[in-house]
């Protein structure tokens, strides 16, 4: 049967090639779409967690905004020791995020002050990699790093002094002079125009809050463990006012974008699957009408109706295998090419406002999704064959033999 089916597939070579091409390019388009979405999402998550959020955070539950917690943990050490003991945690650090005023000799501007433990923060986020001038923060110093835009507006250069002002614990305004040690350029309006970075100890001193922090941020060895790690830490922290959460709870907008993209991709996939199914259905119907007489001959020879049905399904399966293999090859080649060379997408510019985001997406295969697409294309091929195959199985031998 396999031999007959294989030869039947290539009986009308041009039609079969068109079908293989339709299936293959359809599958390749699906794989490309899947890869593009996943790569975009991957880079989005990497950039969001890698430039600011971290994978897991511990902060007070009663903060107004999880991303920028405004309330302080007066004793973060019990939570810190939990992070230190968790084997999933690669690195963690204390942070204070607070809005304040940064002033130069010429101007004062509102800024988001990020006070971090410099040695640890280098590993939690990649902000140090965006430095274009000067150096990164050093612990125990009064250095400050800021974006190119805010530095430009303040008209300060590396080596010059600025003054930071923020509300201290007693309600008074604390002020401290810092020397600009580095300027970063992330390409993001928010990061380059609003954020300044100083060592945590300097901030604690400025605010009169020794040992305090308003968040603990951790980077895990594997981001996939973020939910589980956050849940475990949260359970260990107990029902008090301090809780642990994964980046998904903090960067909800990314999850929203991801859900939207997945929904869009699903619709596109369904449309492509329908197109593939209609193509196969058309081919098999044409093939059926052309071969009615031949089915009559097979039935006269003693082929049972279900044997004829099986023959058509095997033919379709072979066509599906060839089409799927072709699609897999084309899709993999496309993903490989754009994985090496990158794909310039205007969407990168849209995200740049909120976070450092490259305008080039480097595609990476998403084999789980691609396998699903291959299996679905193959399954759709088989399903599309069923109506003509069942119809062939219902033919009466005498009528089939009379078919012209």
């Amino acid at each position: 049967m396999l031999r007959l089916a294989w030869r039947n597939v290539w009986r009308n070579r041009r039609r079969s090639l068109i079908n293989v091409a339709a299936m293959g390019f359809g599958l390749a388009a699906i794989m490309f779409g899947q890869s593009m979405m996943r790569s975009l999402q991957f880079q989005l998550i990497e950039k969001a967690t890698g430039s600011f959020t971290g994978h897991v955070r511990i902060e007070r539950r009663d903060v107004d905004e999880l991303k920028f917690p405004d309330k302080f943990m007066t004793d973060p050490e019990p939570a810190a020791s939990l992070l230190a003991a968790d084997p999933r945690v690669l690195v963690w650090g204390r942070r204070i995020h607070l809005t304040g005023l940064v002033s130069s000799a010429n101007m004062s501007l509102g800024a988001l002050i990020c006070a971090v433990e410099p040695d640890k923060e280098r590993l939690i986020t990649n902000m140090a990699s965006y430095l274009k001038e000067g150096r990164y923060l050093e612990p125990g110093t009064k250095g400050i790093v800021m974006g190119r835009k805010i530095a430009g507006r303040l008209d300060v250069r590396v080596g010059e002094k600025v003054v930071l002002m923020a509300q201290a614990a007693d309600g008074s305004m604390g002020a401290e002079a810092f020397r600009l040690v580095g300027i970063h350029e992330t390409g993001s309006e928010s990061f380059d125009g609003q954020m300044v970075w100083i060592p945590l100890s300097a901030m604690q001193e400025l605010l009169g809050r020794p040992g305090q922090a308003n968040e603990l941020a951790a980077r895990l060895k594997n981001i996939e463990q973020a939910d589980a790690a956050a849940a475990d830490l949260d359970a260990k922290l107990g029902p008090g006012n301090i809780g642990a959460m994964s980046w998904k709870k903090i960067d909800k907008e990314i999850i929203g974008i991801q859900a939207f993209q997945d929904g869009l991709l699903t619709i596109v996939l369904i449309v492509v699957f329908i197109i593939v199914a209609l193509g196969i259905l058309n081919t098999q119907l044409m093939s059926l009408f052309e071969r009615v007489r031949e089915f009559g001959v097979l039935m006269a020879m003693g082929a049972r109706p279900r044997w004829i049905v099986r023959l058509l399904i095997v033919e379709s399966a072979l066509l599906g295998l060839v089409g799927t293999a072709f699609g897999l090859a084309v899709g993999s080649a496309l993903i490989g090419h754009f994985g090496r060379c990158g794909l310039a997408l205007p969407v990168g510019d849209a995200f740049k406002y909120f976070m450092p985001f490259p305008s080039v997406i480097f595609l990476r295969p998403s084999w789980g999704m691609h396998s699903f697409a291959c299996a679905t294309v193959f399954l759709v091929t088989l399903l599309a064959t069923l109506p003509p195959a069942l119809r062939a199985g219902r033919l009466k031998p005498s009528e089939a033999l009379r078919h012209v």
């Binding site: 049967m1 031999r3 007959l4 030869r7 039947n8 290539w10 009986r11 007489r293 031949e294 009559g296 001959v297 097979l298 039935m299 006269a300 020879m301 003693g302 082929a303 049972r304 109706p305 044997w307 009466k396 031998p397 005498s398 033999l401």
Partner: protein, 237 residues
């Protein structure tokens, strides 16, 4: 060895009627009684529309009679299930069609093998039997050719080889020479006659060509769906 008394005929139709109900009802066969014994070389004769092909289809279990029965060796087969009829045809019948009806994507040998494929015969044995059948029809050197590389006469001989490869008890041939020139048709009839005489294969074939009918040892005539004559030709036996 003498035949046992009252041995049932190989095939028997009893009061077979076939009415086609496309639009108005048309009676293609009107109560045909016919017996064919093992080893016969019988022709169904009659003009177009006389019911020859319909009767062959009913005897070949490719169609069901509206009324009456078709029996093989005393067993009624006309009411069997679709699968049972397929199995019956697979084991007991061979078909030769007017327009050869070889499977175009298979070689001559593969075409001949096909009934054996359906019978799940082991590949080596299958190939051996197919080559034997091709040898019987004089085409042992053409096994590797596809049908489109064979002449009409050669294709029909391959079809005969396909019809006999599984040693059926009856071969039904519907106008087997109609698409062949008279010389090639004559050769085909020589072959069928030889297979009948040498190998005891029963042939029932239809034709309206008098030259073909001359070769039959028995001629059953049909007219407007009725059996009008049944001539046995002792001179041909």
């Amino acid at each position: 060895m003498s035949k046992p008394p009252h041995a049932p005929p190989l095939v028997e139709t009893a009061g077979v009627e076939k009415i086609y109900a496309a639009g108005s009802k048309v009676a293609a066969l009107k109560g045909v009684d016919l017996s064919i014994a093992r080893g016969e070389f019988t022709a169904l004769a009659g003009p177009s529309g006389s019911g020859k092909s319909t009767l062959l289809n009913l005897i070949g279990t490719l169609d069901q009679p509206t009324k009456g029965t078709v029996s093989y060796e005393g067993r009624v087969v006309s009411g069997l299930s679709v699968d049972s009829l397929s199995d019956f045809r697979l084991r007991s019948l061979g078909f030769v069609f007017q327009s050869y009806n070889l499977i175009p994507v298979l070689t001559a040998a593969e075409n001949v093998e096909y009934p054996l494929v359906l019978q799940d015969v082991e590949p080596g044995e299958r190939r051996r039997l197919a080559l034997d059948a091709l040898r019987l029809v004089g085409l042992e050197h053409f096994g590797a050719r596809r049908p489109d590389l064979l002449s009409g006469g050669q294709q029909q001989r391959v079809a005969v080889a396909r019809a006999i490869v599984h040693r059926p008890s009856l071969v039904l041939a519907d106008e087997p020479t109609a698409n062949l020139d008279s010389k090639t048709g004559g050769h085909l009839l020589d072959l069928m006659e030889e297979l009948n005489k040498e190998h005891g294969i029963t042939f029932l074939f239809s034709s309206h060509d008098s030259a073909v009918l001359e070769r039959a040892r028995r001629v059953v005539r049909l007219q407007d769906g009725e059996l009008t004559a049944d001539e046995v030709r002792p001179d041909r036996i």
